[in-house]
């Protein structure tokens, strides 16, 4: 939130790392691909934190790691003060009521064989919510909350458009009244006119329910509009964090600046910052700063040490030794 009160973070992540086995099997076991390196962040109650980055930046992996849908290593990963790593299965299952996810693909995210009622009921049954006579009013309320006609409860996903399916996905996430939702490219597959509807819906839900969102997207304008703070990732590392408008309009990291300038816009003059080359393979990332191989401002010193994420004023942090020039 813009007027952030120093409350306790809902989600605290410190030193999150994620490796995948990849590449050829060598003499000493498999090569490991590191998709997340030492990622740390806090998410406050009621806050929307935007995660932006290109493919391979690890933004979706962060979402799945904090929901414990994939295994990861971290110094600390606390939800509401409780350490998530090593939480027993039954405790984790109960905690899932508080943490939900909305997916990108409105077609793959709903079981084609289940009615909307069955999909929503599964969520309620799992946590024993709104049983018996309270069930039907709750289903109706959920449908209304996401702007769908409750008469559609007994239809199957194929009878809905992409935007409507995305609303159903949101209703499923909301069914258990979570305190935290990961929205993983939740509006990326939607047409522009529908995307605006769903963004407004998410903004309304946040305002009404105070749910915290980890909003993952590659679309900078969308992230800027919906997020309080934005975290920019490149090759699994945090490049920059800060209040959304500041990061977008006055980036402090060369990568953020390049990303913002590359974004097609109706109003901007097309003088963009040119990046050289392609995104390096996560199997063989550059030494020092991972962005240096494409950075227009790289110095020899950038190759030697990994830059720390340092405070840069106004609640901002940036990982660049050349933050003097921007």
């Amino acid at each position: 939130m813009t007027d952030m009160t120093p409350t306790r973070p809902l989600l605290e992540v410190r030193g999150l790392n994620k490796h995948y086995p990849a590449g050829k099997r060598g003499l000493f076991g498999r090569q490991m691909m590191q998709v997340l390196r030492d990622v740390s962040f806090d998410l406050y109650p009621g806050e929307v934190l935007g995660l932006v980055g290109e493919s391979g930046s690890g933004k979706s992996t962060i979402g799945k790691a904090v929901l414990r849908l994939v295994d990861s290593q971290s110094q600390a990963m606390r939800f509401d003060g409780r350490e998530l790593a090593g939480l027993p299965t039954e405790d984790l299952r109960r905690l899932r009521k508080d943490m939900q996810i909305i997916f990108q693909d409105p077609y793959a995210s709903l079981d084609p064989r289940k009615t909307i009622r069955a999909t929503l009921t599964e969520a309620l049954d799992t946590h024993g919510l709104h049983r018996g006579a309270a069930r039907q009013p709750r289903l109706v309320a959920l449908m209304q909350m996401v702007g769908l006609n409750p008469a559609f409860l007994d239809r199957r996903p194929h009878e809905f458009s992409g935007g409507q399916r995305q609303r159903i996905g949101i209703a499923r996430a909301l069914a258990v009244e979570p305190r935290f939702i990961v929205a993983d490219e939740a509006v990326s597959a939607l047409d522009v006119s529908i995307q605006a509807q769903v963004l407004n819906l998410l903004a309304d839900l946040r305002a009404k329910t105070g749910v915290s969102l980890l909003f993952i997207s590659h679309d900078l304008s969308v992230v800027r509009f919906i997020s309080d703070r934005v975290m920019v990732l490149y090759l699994g590392r945090v490049m920059e964090v800060g209040p959304a408008d500041q990061v977008h309009f006055a980036p402090r990291h060369p990568y953020t600046a390049a990303l913002v300038s590359a974004e097609p816009s109706l109003h901007k003059a097309p003088d963009r910052i040119r990046l050289t080359g392609e995104i390096p393979s996560p199997l063989n990332p550059p030494s020092g700063c991972v962005f240096r191989s494409r950075c227009p401002y790289a110095l020899p010193a950038c190759a030697t040490a990994v830059p720390d994420l340092r405070p840069a004023g106004e609640g901002r942090m940036t990982a660049c030794i050349r933050d003097d020039i921007l």
Partner: protein, 646 residues
Amino acid sequence: MTPQAQRPGWRRLAAAFPRRMIVPSVLLAALIIIPFAAPLITDANPIRISVRERLSPPSWAHPLGQDEFGRDRLARVLYGGQISLTVAFVATSIACIVGTLFGLIGAYFRGPFQFVTTRMADIVLCFPPILLALLVVTLFGPGAVTLVAVLSVLYFPSFARIAFSEALRVSSLDFVEASRALGTPSRRILLRTILPNIAGPVSVQYSLTAAAAITIESGLSFLGLGVVPPAPSWGQMIRGARQFMEQDPLGILIPCIALTLTIYAINFFCDRLRDTLDPKGGAGDGKDTVSRPIASAVAGHTPVADAPETVAEIRDLRLDLALPGAPVTLIEDVSLRLRANECTALVGESGSGKSLSSLALMGLLPGGIRQSSGQLRLRRKSGEMVDLATLTARELEQVRGHDVAMIFQEPMTSLNPVHKVGTQMVEAIQAHRPMSAEAARKLAITLLERVGINEAARRFDGYPHEMSGGMRQRVMIAMALSCEPRLLIADEPTTALDVTIQAEIIELLRDLRRDYADGLSLLFISHNLGIVADIADRVAVMYSGQVVEEGPTDLVLRAPLHPYTRALLESMPSSHEALHSARGDRLQAISGTPPLPNARPSGCAFRDRCPIAIEACATIRPHLEPRPGERAVRCIRAPEGQEVAA
């Protein structure tokens, strides 16, 4: 399969029992029921021997004659069928349940479970089935129970394999992840979510296996290792009749026909079942065929004065989806003129018809879609303007690639992964330009360098998977340019790419247009107005199969005339840099969704979502009216719109 798996599937089947399933289902049901109705059909005892009447021909009492021991053949073939079918279906059912369970557990829990499932299946699959069956029967002695056991063991690995790979596929889908995120117990996810979604392939495998089991059962009985005599079975009947084949061919024919018919019925059923369960099967035939553009004479052809700068023209195009009954109009009254050296953008949301219009211009409409009116004309490099409808299929092929080329959204799928990049390029070049392989190679490398690929010679000998998405799109552009077309159609060429790579590709296209000696026109299809603003000279906005607004890009995007264009621009977050959701701001979203082509509102297609619609909009179908500044708009309220914009 467990009942849970069947219930939703069968209920769905019963609700809309597909017509194509009726014949095979009735045939299969008949062939299964008839043997079990044996006591109703004949009172003869299948094992009563009557040596005096051995090999006697058909008679009233014995319609199919008597066998080498004088037993009634009709009774034997019917009762034999009971045993063959029971053994086959019981064994298949056991194999199916056990195999599916193994596969499900292996795929969902992975780790050691996956190892056990796949390795066990591998071991059993290593044995030739008939040898394994022979071995077991020799060890445990013949008989129906042994047969069932052998066949179950033989067939469970194939079920495990199919269930495993299908469950693996389904498990990776988001809705399974969503169930896990909800905390749904694993058992419930397996039985309620994954199992119903793999029921299709497993049930097809069930039918196939049942047919195979009948064959093996007959084979083993024929070898004397199956059902123990005197109990009848089809294999045994063949075995008995074989010795008297020459005196009495009927004896061997009857069980063979029974066997063939049953297996045919099962396979027929499988085939149709697979088509029915496959969601893509319904679309039916003619998918690969290409609709021919219709002759302009049919469409009421009027000769047009060709402006020399026109490179392509779509006039009054109407495309119908040919459905039994009433055809559905997908595109109506679309006209578009592409001028030399200009980039025209076609923008719209999914389903607006922008891609179909461009495919029509390539003469590449999918088979189910019919052009019911309109004209498609292209200027060839020779300067001659041709009507696509007057060209033969052969000439159309010449035009494609030579005069018009196309690049697509998905550079991953547009290149063949098993061939080297260079081989594919040389092939494309030689298809249109007679030149030696060496010359084609040189040209290909020059083109790769031109589109900004480093170390072009090395990339030429590489495979597509060694390249990133951005590089593959560059290769596609190089291939499209290999014959120096006058017109390049780019269908969402950057949608699958990262934003920094997207900017590079747009810049490349812009550079190419500038450098191209003979002039290159671009038809750029996109849903992203930001990119369109960046690259296009003119823009045509499509909504629900119609062009609703057309004009110079800067004018249309700065001062839109059509309420849809305006709403589209308003709903983009990038149009409102001062707004922020946390400050209570909301985007001006367009309410509702675009109509399906068969459910467009009367009058103006946009009226039920339009903020300025009036009553007349429901009755008047607006035309694309010209406006000053080389613009056109399809809206009866447009003049008012202009005031609003100003």
